[in-house]
């Protein structure tokens, strides 16, 4: 251990821990703190962050499971989100970036998922959670929160090879011209149930995966195996943030 390592943030610093943190440590991850949570910043020294961005542009996998997200269900959930200044798309299985930068996904007529943005511009998720607790804790208005923070992991698969890689794991056609920006598929990925969302990071193709958190390690290993043909590797949040901010 070098002296520098003393300043390194340990993933166990937070009480909320991704089931993958030991795998991240094996990959020499450097962690960063986001609010109360810890997330992988990068898997390299800062000098080679450009290499990690290159990986992300071609075939990267990022664990976002400790970042904030929330779900809502119930007949009045869309209406309530509307009153909370969200724009809810008409069609089910579509995702829409909100003005606040967070991503709203309509899964069915009465089910919605909200993901925070990678640059943390919006505090939507925290606000929604607070307001829901205040307004709907009696569960008599047909608006129900779903604990998506913990029921589902959150992964990002990035890069130009992403859809090719998915074709080894998923029977839904995720090629660019068939699964455009904002498309959502609730399907089976490596025999586990998953929600797949196309949400590009500027020009870099990106797919978010939300899947049962208890199967996260299994899914992570499957994805890395499928990615190896494209020289894919884990990437940290920092590389993704660079892609989001780049013009």
């Amino acid at each position: 251990m070098t002296n520098e390592d003393i300043n390194v943030i340990a993933p166990t610093l937070a009480t909320r821990r991704s089931p993958l943190y030991r795998r991240h440590l094996q990959y020499q991850a450097r962690f960063t703190q986001v609010g109360d949570n810890v997330v992988v910043d990068s898997y390299c020294n800062e000098t080679s962050i450009n290499d990690e961005i290159d990986v992300a542009e071609s075939m990267g996998l990022c664990d976002l499971s400790t970042l904030d997200r929330i779900g809502f269900k119930g007949i009045n959930a869309p209406k309530w989100l509307d009153s909370e200044k969200f724009h809810v798309p008409v069609l089910a299985n579509t995702a829409e970036k909100q003005v606040s930068q967070s991503l709203l996904i309509k899964l069915s007529a009465h089910e919605i998922l909200v993901l925070s943005d990678l640059l943390f511009h919006s505090k939507d998720v925290k606000r929604l959670y607070q307001n829901a607790v205040e307004n709907h804790q009696n569960y008599d208005q047909q608006v129900y929160t779903l604990p998506r923070n913990d029921s589902h992991c959150w992964l990002a698969v990035t890069g130009t090879n992403a859809s090719k890689m998915f074709s080894k794991l998923c029977a839904v056609d995720l090629r660019s011209h068939k699964f455009a920006q904002g498309a959502v598929a609730q399907t089976s990925l490596a025999k586990t149930n998953a929600i797949i969302i196309r949400h590009d990071l500027n020009k870099t193709p990106c797919f978010y995966i939300l899947s049962d958190i208890s199967g996260l390690e299994f899914l992570w290993d499957c994805l890395l195996d499928a990615m190896s043909e494209f020289n894919g590797a884990p990437v940290g949040l920092s590389a993704l943030q660079t892609l989001v901010s780049s013009k």
């Binding site: 009480t15 909320r16 821990r17 991704s18 089931p19 030991r22 499971s65 400790t66 269900k73 119930g74 804790q137 009696n138 569960y139 008599d140 047909q142 129900y144 779903l146 604990p147 923070n149 913990d150 029921s151 589902h152 074709s167 080894k168 794991l169 998923c170 029977a171 056609d173 090629r175 068939k178 490596a190 025999k191 586990t192 049962d212 958190i213 208890s214 199967g215 390690e217 299994f218 899914l219 499957c222 195996d225 499928a226």
Partner: protein, 968 residues
């Protein structure tokens, strides 16, 4: 390479790249692109293998990877097709299925006795007396063995990939290439698949005009057009091995299985040339006409020096021209037709002055002092299948058969198309294809190149119209402009037999006729009785002849006789193709690695990993488990219960829903209390249990068993799809990690890290539920008692699981808190007499049988199993689940499913049984007849090794019968 021809012969070989390999330890030289068979043929090694049953010498038959004659052994894999496998430097090839050597196989002596080895011989001869077959089978199987498996082989990495196309064209011959080109318009994405290394099919080797030039010009044009069309994806060396519902096509290329979904499939799979049946039609040197042409044009190999052509069509004349052009002497063309109707190609052969014998047949092939054909006996045809008594011997070392084709119908038939037989063309034809499957080319009985191309274009236009890409006027379907190449009866029985119908299985005409004579008249029965079509080539070359022979023998038409079902796979595939890279999801709790670090032995419960017990290398497994039990009873233990199902029911009708779904009453359940929830299905059978916690008038949190959670959730949703109650149901199993801290010191530990909930017995009684913070983590606390001690289940959001676990172990250190596993938990619950649904219940268990009637509400109007349970209560009980104890400590402890006996009859069975460290004796649960279910009754259990063990029926719980400890 004595038989090698100069370029342009040998399209597939690269003469600049010589390659050396060994065959039977002899060094063989070939060129890059050669198959094992073509390289051997170039070196005049004609003998490739020995036949399956009689060990007859065999050589090249199709040169298309379609027959079993060419199966050879490579060090790492048996049953390699020598006419398909490309050679590599240093490759070690041996023959297989012989005793001694390939040249001198004493197994061939069996052939001498073949008349005593009729179909069914082995089964008939060795089946009796009982047990005999087991002794004989290994010897017989060895004799009929197909190669040697390398058991040290490390399997290669195989995987799978999905692909999506608008149109998939299977077969890259002229029809397939044209169909792909015509379909690849607009946005249509087309996949063109061919099992060969290059596209072109028959254009690569067959003769379509008298000069033999047209085919290669056309091929070049089609190849150029395909290469220029971005809509077309080409996969060569790829075989589509089946057709499954809605155009789901398994295509194998290398070590990857592609699962391809097409909107439309166009089959251009072509036709398979068929052998003629005459005495010794299996000798090396006897081959399909197309095989000889493939050898010439694809590999630049002269298949012989003196050839006889047996033909029933004009194509045989094309082969004769090809062979003559390559320097092979044409001894004679034997034309089965009495008055042939010549086309230009045949006329050109006639013009060249070749010897032509019409109305004659090859009656027998001979191999004087050789492993190879040396001559044929040609006789005049008198009537169908009957030859004159005498004939002429013509010397030759090559006999090419050109008597007709069978369409490659396998995929079409798998798709539900009908195979019928057209007497006029003497050919199988395919009809009634489903709407999304189309045929073009020779698979659709078209033979003239212009017909084939025209039909391929037509079909492609039909498909693009259906896809909405084009709106073209369609031509009417084409019928063949030239006569059928099939001869109706190229079958010539010989008094000495050996006219092989099925080369793979060494079946002759008599074998097939005998099968019908033994009463197996249906073609499916003929197949199973004679094994015709069951070999590696799956009847590709035997189905037509077998159908004709069976039809004649049973006085039916060939159409009525039909063929056997052509199931996938079309060609042999390695197990790795289907087995490779399968997904078996596993689930872990957030505390998983803490268990491993503590030495836990993990077990899998469904997809979940759970700690069975925590190992201590100084102690036996049983002692580890017993210590864990003791620590819970006397102190405090901690178990991971995250795998329990968790279901959130919220909304005004949540209570109403639970009231209908579970057996208990939930409407009046107080907020802040938990209630046992027993689930039955409509048949009144117990299918799950858990507890329902009411956190709010409109909010229940219900637990379910580890294995039952997903099913319970799905069942809840299905019932509410019918009831339409105003309730939201969410499966939050994975969203929460849970632990159960149990034992007399549980409260003391918890109090240290939970300050915002009053944990006193008065404020938070047994079966109470609360929300609060445990070690700053938001938690749900449930005072439930599965193990029968003071205990709290603590449920926290999943990603806090490890932190919670650490905090509790830390707080519990001073009380010697120890984790315990599933094994200890099973003992603890059994001491309390709690049942495990699925272990102590089966598919017939109703609540009364398992003594759970206390959990069934009689006041409420309805629940899912209510009507059936009340019906069952009108009938006498059949069995009862009771507790039992075994006082005799020397008796072997019974295990699950050991029988309960009465007067030597089975009357019940044990469902759970173990040694109870707390009571120091064996305890268990068993189903017994109601008349022996009273406390104090003795039951007899047939335990391990048949020992009869007496057990006393005991009231449960065995431990703490007044349930004082959990209410501390």
């Amino acid at each position: 390479m004595k038989s090698r021809l100069p370029a342009p012969y040998g399209r597939l070989i690269n003469r600049q790249k010589p390659i050396q390999f060994t065959f039977e330890n002899r060094t063989i030289c070939g060129f890059s692109g050669d198959t094992i068979a073509s390289a051997l043929m170039a070196n005049q090694q004609y003998l490739l293998s020995r036949s399956f049953k009689y060990h007859r010498p065999r050589g090249v038959l199709t040169m298309a990877g379609q027959d079993a004659n060419t199966l050879v052994q490579l060090p790492s894999s048996p049953n390699v097709l020598a006419d398909k496998q490309v050679i590599e430097d240093g490759m070690q090839v041996t023959g297989q299925n012989y005793s001694g050597s390939l040249m001198r196989d004493w197994g061939a002596l069996l052939g001498v006795f073949s008349r005593f080895l009729p179909v069914g011989f082995y089964y008939k001869a060795f089946f009796k007396p009982r047990g005999m077959w087991e002794k004989w089978a290994p010897l017989i199987r060895k004799k009929a063995g197909l190669g040697v498996i390398d058991q040290a082989l490390k399997p290669a990495y195989h995987d799978k990939q999905y692909k999506f196309f608008d149109v998939v064209v299977i077969g890259g011959g002229p029809a397939g290439m044209q169909a792909a080109l015509s379909a690849a318009v607009g946005t249509t994405e087309v996949l063109l698949v061919d099992e060969n290394s290059s596209l072109g099919g028959a254009l690569n080797y067959s003769r379509f005009d008298s000069d033999g030039l047209y085919a290669s010009d056309l091929l070049q044009k089609l190849l150029n057009d395909i290469a220029a069309n971005p809509n077309i994806t080409v996969m060569t060396d790829a075989v589509c091995n089946g057709w499954f519902a809605d155009n789901w096509l398994p295509i194998i290329k290398g070590n990857r299985l592609f699962k391809v979904r097409a909107i439309h499939t166009i089959l251009c799979t072509g036709a398979l040339e068929q052998p003629a049946l005459f005495h010794n039609n299996d000798l090396p040197g006897v081959m399909m006409s197309s095989a000889a042409q493939r050898l010439l044009h694809l590999y630049g190999v002269k298949p012989g020096s003196k050839a006889v052509i047996l033909t029933g069509n004009n194509e045989g004349y094309g082969t004769a021209l090809d062979l003559q052009d390559a320097g092979v002497t044409i001894q004679a063309i034997i034309d089965l037709r009495k008055n042939p109707d010549y086309d230009d190609i045949a006329k050109s052969a006639v013009k060249k002055g070749m010897r032509i014998e019409t109305g004659k047949a090859v009656y027998a092939a001979k191999r004087k002092g050789s492993m190879h054909i040396t001559s044929v006996e040609v006789r005049k045809l008198i009537s169908q299948g009957i030859c004159s008594d005498h004939g002429e011997i013509i010397a030759c070392d090559l006999l090419c058969m050109s008597v007709g084709y069978t369409p490659a119908y396998q995929l079409a038939c798998q798709a539900g198309a009908q195979l019928s037989y057209d007497d006029a063309s003497a050919m199988f034809t395919i009809t009634n294809c489903p709407d999304n499957l189309h045929l073009a080319g020779s698979v659709n009985s078209l033979w003239a190149l212009k017909d084939v191309l025209c039909e391929a274009t037509n079909v492609a236009h039909k498909v693009t119209n259906k896809l909405g890409v084009t709106d073209l006027v369609l031509e009417s379907p084409i019928s063949s402009s030239i006569p059928s190449p099939n001869h109706p009866w190229p079958i010539f029985a010989h008094p000495e037999g050996k006219e092989f119908v099925d080369y793979d299985e060494d079946l002759t005409i008599a074998d097939i006729i005998n099968a019908t004579g033994d009463g197996y008249e249906h073609i499916q029965l003929v197949k199973r009785y004679s094994t015709c079509g069951m070999g590696p080539s799956q009847g590709r070359h035997s189905a037509l002849a077998a159908a004709r022979i069976v039809a004649a023998a049973t006085n039916r038409t060939v159409a009525d006789t039909g063929v056997t079902t052509a199931r996938p796979p079309f060609s042999a595939e390695q197990l790795g193709q289907s087995a490779g890279r399968s997904f078996y999801p596993v689930r872990r709790t957030n505390m998983h690695y803490r268990h491993l670090e503590a030495g836990a032995q993990m077990l899998q419960a469904g997809a979940w990993y759970r700690p069975a017990f925590y190992a201590d290398k100084n102690l036996s497994t049983q002692d580890c488990i017993n210590n864990e039990v003791a620590n819970v009873r006397s102190n405090v233990g901690l178990v991971d219960v995250s795998t329990l199902g968790g279901l959130e029911l919220r909304g005004p009708d949540a209570g109403e829903f639970l009231n209908r779904f579970y057996t208990f009453g939930f409407i009046k359940q107080p907020v802040g209390r938990a209630r046992y929830a027993l689930l039955t299905n409509e048949a009144g059978v117990v299918i799950d249990d858990g507890v329902a916690c009411r956190f709010n008038e409109n909010h229940f949190y219900v637990t379910a068993t580890t294995g039952g959670a997903d099913g319970v959730y799905q069942s809840m949703l299905k019932w509410n799809a019918q009831w339409q109650l105003n309730v939201d149901i969410a499966n939050v199993t994975s969203a929460y990690c849970g632990v159960n801290i149990a034992g007399p010191n549980a409260r003391k530990v918890l109090e240290k890290i939970c300050s915002d909930v009053d944990l006193s017995a008065h404020a938070f009684p047994y079966m109470g539920v609360r929300c609060g913070l445990v070690a700053t983590i938001p938690a749900r606390l449930l005072r439930v008692g599965f193990v029968g001690e003071l205990g709290y289940e603590i449920h926290v959001p999943q990603q806090y699981g490890e932190a919670l676990w650490d905090a509790l172990l830390d707080a519990g250190e001073e009380y010697l808190l120890k984790p315990f596993g599933i094994e200890a938990q099973r003992i603890l619950r059994l001491e309390k007499g709690h049942i495990i649904v699925g272990q102590d219940t089966d598919a017939m268990s109703n609540p009364n049988e398992v003594q759970m009637s206390w959990a069934v509400s009689r006041q409420k109007p309805f629940f899912v199993g209510s009507r059936t349970i009340s019906e069952l209560e009108k009938q006498p009980a059949i069995r009862t689940l009771v507790g039992f104890m075994i006082d005799d400590k020397s008796a072997p402890i019974p295990q699950e499913s050991h029988l309960v006996l009465s007067k030597n009859q089975m009357v019940g069975r044990v469902t759970s049984c173990c040694y109870s460290p707390t009571l120091d004796k064996a305890i268990g649960l068993a189903y017994v007849p109601p008349d022996t279910a009273s406390e104090g009754d003795t039951i007899i259990i047939k335990s391990t090794n048949g020992a009869l063990v007496a057990a006393i029926v005991t009231k449960v719980p065995f431990y703490d019968p007044d349930a004082k400890r959990q209410e501390l």
